[in-house]
Symmetry: C3
Subunit: 294 residues, 3 copies
């Protein structure tokens, strides 16, 4: 494996291997590449979690990180992403993490560059390390996926992880159900079939995986207020009380407090929201190792 740009790049066996590698890093396993290795993080969209998480993972593996600020680069002079990445390669960067607003931006790169590429999110496309850390958080909690009922709730059509999470979870033997505003389903038959009202989901699901309302992508959400959203589709204080014993709450963050989830639940006992962030570092260490250790 040279690049990781989509969950479709990974077999279920490879996914499982990454989850196990992440587990070993969580258990303080040490690994570094045998030689000086240089990473660069190119984030063309705002990010706290993903960028900081990669920066941390890279340092924990002893990589040297070459700073790259998209806002002051020669992209301002009209240089293309392809030429920018080729430049980094020529200068000696070994691995680049890229987040870009354009869906599948990486297509023009994959067979053209030797530098390794990890997709840190492309438009409404993919975000494989987020999917992997979601899977890892569930596996860490329940030990297995088989027989679990996972509810994915919210902005399914703009989510970079909903679709790949559903596919992976199903492949691993979990059942995936959905809730959220039906007009956001983009006519997906399978999702419609497994659609439930939020009130009917909370007492069924082992995992309630809330998706972020992507205000920045979802410009025409004028028919519903954030209050209405919370009442109809949000995880309210009342709904949380009806959740199954040992069931957990997930959210990729940043959370819109009191919209997708009640403010007081963000750090409640069931919440794995900050645990997901901690797990993200181990997942990224695992992916970096997998790409570099060949």
């Amino acid at each position: 494996m040279k690049h990781l740009v989509s969950m479709n790049d990974l077999s279920t066996a490879e996914m499982m291997e990454i989850l196990e590698l992440a587990e070993s890093f969580a258990n303080d396993e040490q690994w570094s590449p045998g030689k000086k290795t240089y990473a660069a993080n190119l984030f063309f969209e705002p990010s706290t979690r993903t960028k900081v998480s990669f920066e941390m993972a890279e340092r924990k593996l002893g990589l040297d990180v070459i700073p790259f600020e998209t806002s002051t680069s020669s992209l301002l002079k009209g240089e293309t992403l392809y030429d920018t990445v080729k430049t980094l390669e020529a200068i000696g960067v070994d691995i680049a993490v890229i987040r870009h607003e354009e869906e599948a931006y990486y297509k023009e790169l994959l067979n053209q560059v030797n530098i390794r590429i990890i997709n840190g999110g492309d438009g409404c496309g993919q975000h494989p390390t987020q999917s992997l850390l979601d899977l890892y958080t569930i596996k860490q909690e329940f030990g297995t996926f088989a027989g679990l009922k996972v509810a994915i709730v919210g902005d399914l059509c703009h989510s970079r992880v909903a679709k790949s999470n559903k596919e992976a979870l199903t492949a691993f033997g979990a059942e995936v159900i959905f809730s959220g505003p039906q007009e956001w389903y983009a006519g997906d038959a399978e999702q419609s079939e497994n659609y439930y009202e939020m009130d009917d989901i909370v007492n069924k699901a082992d995992v309630v995986m809330l998706l972020r309302i992507q205000h920045e992508r979802h410009l025409n959400m004028t028919t519903i207020t954030t209050n209405q959203y919370h009442r109809q589709y949000g995880l309210t204080v009342e709904r949380e009380k009806r959740m199954k014993e040992r069931s957990i709450i997930m959210h990729p963050a940043p959370v819109n407090r009191n919209v997708e989830i009640a403010d007081s639940l963000v750090e409640c006992e069931r919440s794995r929201i900050f645990k997901q962030m901690a797990n993200g570092v181990f997942i990224r260490m695992a992916v970096l190792k997998k790409l570099l250790d060949q």
Copy 2:
């Protein structure tokens, strides 16, 4: 001590301890935390000195610094400072240095986060490491504070250090006097009592501590030009000639040349302005050590 957000957090004994620790770092003492330690510097207001100084101090102590750019973070997506800091904590950052335009921004953080916090300046509030480096520069010069006369001159009401410097200096046995535009005193009785004309201060003071006119905070300073300010309240070439033997000039910088101080005096023999910056690194090393070495 878990956080340092205000000089009020410190007893005079603790202040003295930090000054002595800084002195030992100035004398090339080496110290590093026993384990990999990660710092992040969150500067929501422009800064050269304070940010670079912390970056240097962190590297001199062998910390790993995780870059965090406020301008490209998820704060742009509406994430709160609290959620941002919690995220850094979840990802494994041990200590955060924060400068923020909101006074007392740290109140919502202190009892909620395990990450250590150093306040690098909050609005018109506090800037404890600046206060400490001012104290250290005076102590380095005179060996003691007892019996010294320290004149604080200028924009007292917007200064993040004037008040805490006055309190600390007084506690250590120095006498503090004031000058500058009286309308900026915000009706502080004690300051009014110890108020002198600039011409009467320069031949009395052992330390002339000039404050920066904070143009960016002081929007309505329309009644006085910078030339007038220099003539009435500035350290002019003429006034410097009447300063006491062995007395020194201080300024937190950036200096408005020919406003608070004549251009030619910025690097004169009495000036400790660049010495203060050098000392800032040692003070920050001392504070970092104090928070991490427990």
Copy 3:
């Protein structure tokens, strides 16, 4: 040598010494300063190549790099470049790489600061490490400069390297000829004398060194379209076919594809464009060593 701000600072012997030092770094020679050394890169104009290249070179030499973002520094509060550089010096930075839009910005610094300065480009002035990497790339290819014919083509009057490259190449025994829009020659007699049409150059030159059209500096290029430019002065697919055996193509990048050079030629066999970038790292390592190893 304390600073490198212009090719005029260097004798031909010193240039040759730097090229040889770069060669040894290309051959994996290791060198680090004997003590902890701190670098800062101050880029006031957009840059990918030069900034990333210095960041890489600094890390390969084991320097500690102190991040400095021009967009969030106290320059926003009106602090001058001089005071900014003096501040970095006071805080302990040993060497600063500066790119600035103002021609000869460094004049006010040279005799006033102890920090070492490398000019990473000043307005339309100089860019010595780019010149040196151009020379190194030619020397690497041909072993010598004597007897070579080097064609410099394009935006000569805005180029930071054309003039110094011409002088150095001539001093080393190469013949330099020119092409490009004649109105851009700024009335330089010598260049006019050695001017040729592009069609007459391609079968003569050992090196075709294309210059970038600096759209950002060249605001009034309204009389000619980019298509016309390509046809008249560009390296077209057709012209490349008539190039001499073993001759090479150079360009400082970022390339305007299909303007200065046909898209398909950017990575053709003759092209040394990405090789130049790789060489840039070794040149910068050599210059850093020369300034630090004294």
